[in-house]
Amino acid sequence: MMTITQKILAAHAGKKEVVPGELISAKLDLVLANDITAPIAIKEFRAAGAKKVFDPDRIVLIPDHFAPNKDIASAEQCSLLRQFSREHDLSLYFEVGRMGIEHALLPEQGIVVPGDLMIGADSHTCTYGGLGAFSTGVGSTDVAAAMITGEAWFKVPESMKFIINGKIGKWVGGKDIILYTIGDIGVDGALYRSMEFTGEVIKKLPMSGRLTICNMAIEAGGKNGIIEPDDITERYVSRRARRKYKFYKSDKKANYVDVREFDFTGVEPQIACPHLPENVKPVSALASVNIDQSVVGSCTNGRIEDIREAAKVIKGHKVHPYVRMIVIPATQAVYKQSIKEGLVDIFIDAGAAFSTPTCGPCLGGHMGILASGERSISTTNRNFVGRMGHPKSEVYLSNPAIAAASAVLGRIGRPEELR
């Protein structure tokens, strides 16, 4: 009796069955790194005397964090990725103008598919669990080794199950579900464990929301987040997949170390307050918190559904005079679709900035850094001290509708409060 996570790990390790705690060496479908983590991996790869990558079509390098290059040092890092990609003829290197934020780009382009096993030198690699893949974040050295061998070591994790039931409110979605969950179990509540999400809310949740939930599994210390693939997955994947895919499902009698059931009926949009993603409160408890900036974007909430949601809220309104609103579509396709649907017009008319894809402000890189004492509401994934700029600045994490409403109000608030 195995969970979906165990089944994917077993299949890639060439085993019939794996049990939690077991150490396995597994074949990787993809290996991913970005402009921050790939440089170290490339140096390690070269230092090991390696001449060839295991498969030039299974290594993904994406300059997205400090790209388009924000300064000379970043330009050097991106240049190293470019050189390495040319040297090894990597087919999955994405240049500025074609790139997007890695965890939004890979599912959108059908590069990662259900049933895959992959690692990425970026902690939010766990995003692809939304498709029913096993994916987890590792460091640069693991990526260096994997680029040589196409394999990685894993300790099979124990699994936790989260059953999300009830009827969710109008402005409640994937972000609120994952913030609520992290608030419940804490930032190390799923340490070394797999987080599997199910229940009637999840079964109806669009792919964008599922990706958002799995994206933040790491914020609870989880090894991976995962959702069983179904018809919604099939519809999303069938027209995008570049490879064959396989749906794995958990056995009914699979073992979980912890099962939690949340009834989301009547649950408000959730906000994570500084300086940990576990400091979660309902939005109505924070109506007196003024903001200086509102960011909509990132690998967590930069997909077209997120941009649409923010646009729907802000349409016909103006960004508060004391607030900077920055909207960053996660990929070029999202950008283009935003233009096509007139969403860019809505943001510009409201007085918001609309940017080319980049991780940018999420990690305090560029494109919206906070000064001392400033406060941002943001659809990103982390609110640690100094995450978006000065160590004395603050970040509140929310869904896109709340970020948009707050941009208009000049304080944390809900779409219902806009007149």
Binding site: A50, G365, F384
Partner: protein, 166 residues
Amino acid sequence: MKFKGNAWKFGPDVDTDAIVPARYLNTSDPKELAKHCMEDSTNPEFMKKMKPGDIIVAEKNFGCGSSREHAPIAIKAAGVSCVVAKSFARIFYRNSFNMGLPIFESPEAVEGINEGDEIAVDADAGIIRNLTTSKEFKATPVPPFMQELIAAGGLMAYTKKKAGLP
């Protein structure tokens, strides 16, 4: 391996942005990264005050957040000999072994060490001694797989051997 140094204490959930803020990640040069080690933590003066060989002693979930190997690299390049914590975040734990920063899990040791205490660590025996209070603690044993990696000389040495690289 044996380490000796004074303890610098940190609270729970020290994240990788506190260990080395992302704004400095436009380089992977260990010396540059070390300059900013613990800059956004509860002890921003850490680099000015610490001496080479000193030991970081932290509560639960040390190194949570990003997968950046720059975090253990910065700590090692800063001259910190090892980190003792009640628990470590998963990726930080794996990274530390891969790049060679000695880390020890020991809730008892963290409880029994105060800021500034003189600490001696016997890595092979997994023993942490507080020389100031003359107390001794045991570290949680390293999983056999990690021991295998260490014996091989780290993940890259292990991989080279496996891949048949000279």
